[in-house]
Amino acid sequence: MKIKDFIDKCCLALEVEPGTLNRDSSPDNVETWDSMGYLNLIAMIDKELGLSLSGDDLQKINTLGDLIDELKSRGVLE
């Protein structure tokens, strides 16, 4: 999956307007990125990328940019 498409999927998962997330987005500045937001992200990544990230994995990731880098390193994002 391309990074732009992935960010679009993140907007859907976190229930925010399309185009409002970027690499600096984080639980600190996205209100819906709460415990439920984490579940939505895990579900989306599992469904779209076939990768089951643990909550601990996600908690170590501070920003959407970190998440993208992590998924790239695992070879599931272009």
Binding site: S35, M36, I42, A43, D46, S52, Q59
Partner: protein
């Protein structure tokens, strides 16, 4: 005597009277409207045990109802298994108290098992082993929990989800409504910290320090004396473990996913059930969701779902059911049932 198979013959459940609604919860959690709670969890109400009502009381009521509505009598019971994580005491065994209260004979073997969401499937596996090894004719499996007593009122991550309930099931060598088939059981104790009441035993004794309340990053308040659930880790575990146990059980019995008529999953929450159903590529209609009125009732969720589906006439003679329990431990289990049609429960 020769007992070739074990069958579920009766199921009953009991819900405590007090009800907790989303409207009551939204007054406590400023950013969570009652609609949001419903849309995320699929739950609108939960039943909550009163202050002096314990899990064994809920189990007693369910069993009492069952004896009243069936032709089985307390003296017919050879084994009582009580599945709970909120017993009356750490010692004595709550099942012993229930044996006396229910008027079961002194020849009845009685013991507790401490399991949560996988508990009903494990209970069936023990009951089947007793019956097929000819050590018992009738096993009474009671599940009951009162998680509400260990949930902090201001912890929305768990208070929105869990409800209290008790169920009673008779597993018998005689006729029944569902024949118990093969099992797949499993454990991964490395996840034990993700779903825990830290001071519930002797490892961390309760003290003034453990009762100090703290707020987490999501604004939930709890102390070490309360239930803690790491929802995202538990969700990841489920996405991994449930498809595997289903596949392994199907392999054991040489069946395909499409051969199964009904998947009766532990009713964790609607979000999780929907996602699992989609991931497994199972038609939604084959996965009954039965938690709107009850919430997640831990080991009671599968028998409650079975009983409600039975009352609604969902299952037909010869239908294959797969029951799948998963959660705290981590612990999981799946079992196949063949529905035998004859509805012996009085509705």
């Amino acid at each position: 005597m020769s007992f070739k198979s074990a069958k579920i013959s009766y199921i009953e459940y009991y819900l405590p009277e007090q009800i907790l609604t989303n409207e009551e919860l939204q007054t406590l959690y400023p950013r969570w409207s009652s609609e949001k709670i419903y849309s995320k969890t699929g739950i609108s109400t939960r039943h909550i045990a009163s202050q002096d009502e314990c899990a064994s009381d809920l189990g007693y009521r369910a069993a009492y109802k069952l004896f009243n509505q069936s032709n089985i009598k307390p003296e017919d019971i050879d084994v009582l298994i009580f599945c709970t994580q909120t017993p009356d005491y750490c010692l004595p065994t709550s099942a012993c108290i229930l044996q006396d209260r229910l008027g079961l004979p002194n020849s009845c073997a009685s013991f507790d098992i401490n399991l949560g969401c996988s508990g009903f499937v494990y209970g069936l596996s023990i009951a089947k082993a007793y019956i097929c090894s000819e050590m018992a004719r009738n096993v009474l499996l009671i599940t009951a929990d009162t998680y509400s007593k260990v949930i902090h009122p201001l912890d929305k991550s768990v208070r929105t989800i869990f409800g209290d309930a008790g169920t009673a099931t008779i597993i018998s060598s005689n006729d029944g409504i569902a024949e118990i088939g093969s099992f797949d059981l499993g454990t991964d104790g490395s996840g034990y910290k993700n779903f825990i009441v830290p001071t519930s035993g002797f490892r961390i004794p309760k003290s003034s320090e453990t009762s100090i309340e703290k707020e987490d990053e999501s604004g939930n308040i709890r102390s070490l004396d309360n239930l803690y659930m790491n929802g995202s880790n538990l969700f990841s575990f489920t996405l991994d473990a449930v498809p595997k146990t289903i596949e392994q059980l199907l392999q054991k019995v040489n069946l395909n996913l499409s051969d199964i008529d009904w998947f009766i999953m532990h009713q964790a929450n609607r979000f999780m059930l929907r996602h699992l159903t989609e991931k497994l590529n199972i038609p939604e209609i084959k996965v009954p969701i039965c938690l709107e009125q009850y919430g997640n009732t831990v080991s009671s969720s599968i028998p409650i779902t079975l009983r409600d589906c039975q009352k609604n006439g969902l299952f037909k003679n010869g239908d294959l059911l797969m029951l799948i329990g998963f959660g705290v431990g981590y612990s999981w289990g799946s079992v196949l049932l063949k529905w035998m049609g004859e509805d012996k429960n009085v509705s």
